[in-house]
Subunit: 346 residues, 2 copies
């Protein structure tokens, strides 16, 4: 009844707090801005009154004048993917501690991006944008965003996005996959694998392309045959079917190197539950990512880990540095990968 209407009217404003505490509205603003000069006792009194009135500074109004929204935009194709959901979770926690809120935008599963979405996102004026979707080229993103500097995750080949026009500014997280892939190949070779199949991820994914390239390079360096390449899309079902085809229509393989852990699960299940083969005795399997499910007993997957904590720390570092120095030269953080040995190889 009146209860609610009152409550609605009770959306406290800085003016009301000021009146109640017998100070100017500016003082209230200063009370919420730690490094503003204000008599301690006065600040305490103001904060006390603010608490009583249930007052919080309005972010929209604040954003309007400071030019900082305290929002970090994340462009993701698939929140359900264990890998991405892990990253969103950790990133949100870390950014929250720094005073930023996560703004989520979903793009279509094929990574295609509705240009209206970018327009829409820009309206919110995010302080920073992380693009989990690799085919939104820096050119496009930088052109759309005005204030925020996007962060790109790239793999091995530093020359990626070389086609970007000069003058665009974006920061990079460079993931060195070479290490992990080398360790994996060495292990496979040690256990006598000769015919290795690469079970790909999404065709449009640059991460996948680079993963495949680095695998080929590594095999060549060790004098091994080029891999059989299977098309995939990072999903369980596609990996499952691709594996069946490989052994029923194709000529099979000694080992399967999957572009991601979920794909590796699909391959393992196809081998064990439909082809009657055993892992690792008949076929060895290696994954990529090291998601939590990788240690589940049914899979117990040997996989190349991209350390989540390290990755999130690096991203947060990039965001904070860029906000501190908006015009600094492009930054690059580097990350290594390493093999986690479990039960699907030896």
């Amino acid at each position: 009844m009146n209860d609610r209407a009152d409550k609605k009217a009770a959306r406290a404003t800085a003016d009301q707090v000021a009146r109640e505490a017998n100070v100017s509205r500016v003082a209230v603003s200063r009370a919420f801005n730690p490094n503003a000069s204000l008599k301690p006792e006065k600040r305490d009194r103001i904060l006390q009154v603010a608490r009583e009135l249930n007052y919080t500074p309005d972010m929209a109004a604040r954003s309007l004048v400071t030019g900082r929204s305290h929002l970090v935009g994340m462009i993701v194709p698939d929140v359900c993917s264990p890998w991405e959901s892990q990253e969103i979770d950790a990133l949100t926690t870390a950014l929250q501690a720094e005073g930023f809120a996560t703004l989520l935008f979903k793009v279509k599963a094929d990574f295609s991006m509705d240009p209206r979405l970018l327009t829409y996102m820009r309206g919110f004026n995010p302080d920073s944008v992380i693009a989990f979707t690799e085919n939104i080229l820096p050119d496009v993103l930088c052109g759309f965003l005005d204030r925020a500097v996007p962060i790109y995750v790239i793999y091995d080949d530093v020359a990626q996005f070389a086609g970007a026009a000069s003058g665009t500014l974006y920061d990079r997280l460079l993931v060195r996959q070479k290490n992990g892939i080398e360790q994996a190949v060495a292990l496979l070779q040690g256990y006598g694998a000769r015919r290795i199949a690469y079970l790909g991820g999404k065709a449009q994914s640059l991460a996948n392309a680079e993963r495949e390239r680095t695998l080929k390079e590594t095999l060549a360096e060790r004098g091994m045959d080029a891999p059989i390449v299977l098309a995939g899309d990072y999903t369980y079902d596609t990996a499952y079917r691709a594996t069946l085809d490989l052994f029923r229509i194709g000529e099979g393989a000694d080992a399967i190197f999957a572009a991601n852990d979920v794909g590796a699960f699909g391959a393992i299940d196809a081998l064990r539950h439909e082809l009657g083969l055993s892992v690792p005795e008949d076929v060895k399997v290696v994954g990529f990512d090291d998601i939590p499910q990788a240690h589940w007993k049914s899979y117990n997957l040997t996989t190349v880990r991209i350390d989540l904590d390290e990755r999130v720390r690096a991203l947060v570092r990039l965001i904070l540095m860029r906000l501190r120095a908006p015009d600094a030269a492009p930054l690059t953080e580097t990350l290594n990968t390493r093999l986690i040995v479990r039960g699907t190889v030896g």
Copy 2:
């Protein structure tokens, strides 16, 4: 170089568009507001100029005067959980289509909520808030939020939150678990299960409490023994250990009814890979949720499905109706559950 500085200055405003198109700033505002009265040709010209200048209305400024932020806050304890990540994904997609962006807030894993987080969230003035965390009581949330009306997901027992103070307004999504649980129990009984164990979820979770209560009720109605209750927390590892304890220290069971699918996976793996028992021959297993992994061949889990699409549609419906009629009486949407039969029972 100058390129960037220019681009930064080029953050187009409605005034600039107006000047460039020889119209008033008000006309620009109207051009972006579909139901405002404006000569079509004029609107076209304005939108054309806006596109050239890369202009988008600033959401913060708009929010300040309209009182709508176009933000929907989501309070989640764990983005990584397959169930929640699915829901966030689908909800974000649906809301995005309606012009809302998702604002993510993470609470600690034990569901405890930092009061500062609520304060912080309120600063963003979300148009709506969905609480995935059940122990933030409506009283607290309504007291903190001024404009937004929270949505609560409740289970079976409509009397939940009855302790909430009168005058608080919140909408509800009521999930009827009884159906699905009855079907599951019927199936288990049909296959001769007598000693049933309930593998619980988080102790603080009301969903878990209600699931346990309804299971007990259903067993009693069918004249079966009360279940053995195992403590859990919705995670794989805890479920794994609890299952080991049940069979090594405890007296075992015919069937395990898990509070969620991930817990069921842990139970299955413990049974098969460590206890040397087979599922479903020695022990039957039923899960809850029907996450995508449930159909993976390694588990092929029989489980109680809470239909995701239906659930998301209901939530979106609640949000939109509440925004249209902020003072309407509390709304309740109802959802049924049903058993999905796969390979872990018969």
